[in-house]
């Protein structure tokens, strides 16, 4: 939106809400990366910090919802303003979920620290987490810049995350069959991988919100999606 409102306070309200969402995005991305680092390094202290940090994300989401409710009640936003408010609320909710997943990863990393290591798994998880963290960052950059092109790219890139999850799934199955003592840690690791894959889905939904914000319409189902990948079986869509 190039023009400013006649009521300048309306501009300030909308800018403030969007700044809160960007802050949430930064926290969610950091939480995910920190949790994955804690997992690989078996760093209980860092994992604890991630766990405790989730409250800040929850509080930010509440603040955003309250501010949006105020704007709706006082300003009756329409058109692009309305879409800004609607998308802010959805994005905040997606980021809050991402925070929950990071917290869950941190909790499981504490449990995993007491179990035998699964060869190579923590490194793969950390790489996947970094990849998803970048996806989240790009989705939020697309939001800040109103860049529908970047948003479409994010949507397409989620496929890579699904492939990574599929590969990990097969790896864990192989480990569990080879050594039953690894069943417990592999189950935890699998939940972690699944949760990171879910964060990727949230990044995709944020990207879709960007497309709605810019164009007024949600994107259709043109996204290439191999259903089999998220079921751990590439090429065998169910």
């Amino acid at each position: 939106m190039t023009h400013e409102h006649i009521a300048a306070v309306f501009d300030r309200d909308l800018e403030r809400i969007q700044a809160l969402v960007m802050k949430m995005g930064g926290l969610a991305e950091a939480a995910l990366n920190d949790a994955a680092t804690a997992l690989e390094a078996r760093d209980g202290e860092l994992a604890e910090r991630v766990r405790a940090g989730d409250a800040a994300l929850d509080a930010l989401e509440e603040e955003i919802n309250a501010e949006c409710a105020k704007v709706i009640a006082l300003r009756a936003p329409t058109a692009g303003d309305l879409r800004t408010v609607l998308t802010v609320m959805k994005i905040a909710s997606a980021l809050e979920r991402c925070g929950d997943y990071a917290k869950n990863l941190a909790r499981r990393s504490l449990v995993l620290a007491e179990m035998p290591r699964v060869e190579g798994a923590a490194g793969s998880i950390r790489r996947m987490a970094r990849q998803v963290g970048l996806l989240l960052r790009d989705a939020l950059d697309a939001y800040a810049r109103r860049d529908a092109e970047l948003a479409r790219e994010v949507r397409a890139r989620d496929e890579e995350v699904d492939q990574m999850y599929g590969a990990l799934f097969r790896e864990f199955v192989t480990h569990m069959m080879a050594d039953p003592r690894l069943i417990s840690p592999c189950l935890h690791l699998h939940f972690i991988a699944k949760n990171i894959e879910r964060v990727g889905d949230h990044a995709t939904s944020i990207a879709e919100q960007v497309i709605y914000l810019v164009s007024g319409a949600l994107p259709g189902e043109e996204r290439p999606k191999d259903e089999g990948a998220t079921l751990g079986q590439p090429g065998r869509g169910l």
Binding site: H5, F10, T78, A79, D81, S215
Partner: protein
Amino acid sequence: MQTPKMTASGVNVHYGSTQALFNVSVDIAPATVTAFIGPSGCGKSTFLRCLNRMNDTIAGCRVEGRITLDGEDIYAPSVDPVQLRAQVGMVFQKPNPFPKSIYENVAYGPRIHGMARRREDLDEIVETSLRRAALWGEVKDRLATPGTGLSGGQQQRLCIARAIATAPEVLLMDEPASALDPIATAQIEELIDELRASFSVVIVTHSMQQAARVSQKTAFFHLGSLVEFGETGQIFTSPSDPRTESYITGRIG
């Protein structure tokens, strides 16, 4: 798409040497509330007044183009503007009851158009019109008192009763609630929604929220041109023209 109740195509309006409307084409759908919005001087009221030839009364006003009601050209020489205004009724911004009794305000139109032969018929039209205007309960015991003694909101509902007493097919409303308090405004808006079952309603309003609340179709006028015309929901969530967006979101356009 339903057959439109009224169709305007290529309408130009000049006041003397000044052109007020440029090539406006709009379909007014039956049983629908159509809102005209736009900044002051955009031509929305001028266009509204073309729909029942109210502009005929303004010296130096020239209307070009074609406007039809049920397919009939309303500017054809054979059309009697007084008869037309019974079919296409109008309610104004400021309540303007006649300085007569409540009863006479409503009875006037049906009487001059010869719609009632007996007193009982006229009584029935008056009661029905006042009921439909949601005013009957408040005035039924004082029909002989002056219409000007009612509150502003009641006066406006009286004017609506007067407008619908001639059984019009289209009701034009020029800022019908801008002089009313929020309660009276809500009553008028509720009334508009009920009237929609029987008439096409066209409303000019400066209140964006009112347009959003009461209409199904919205037309945005700017500098004498129709910029955008579409479903109200679409206009207020994702207008396609940046000028519409600037106006409805309250930006300096």
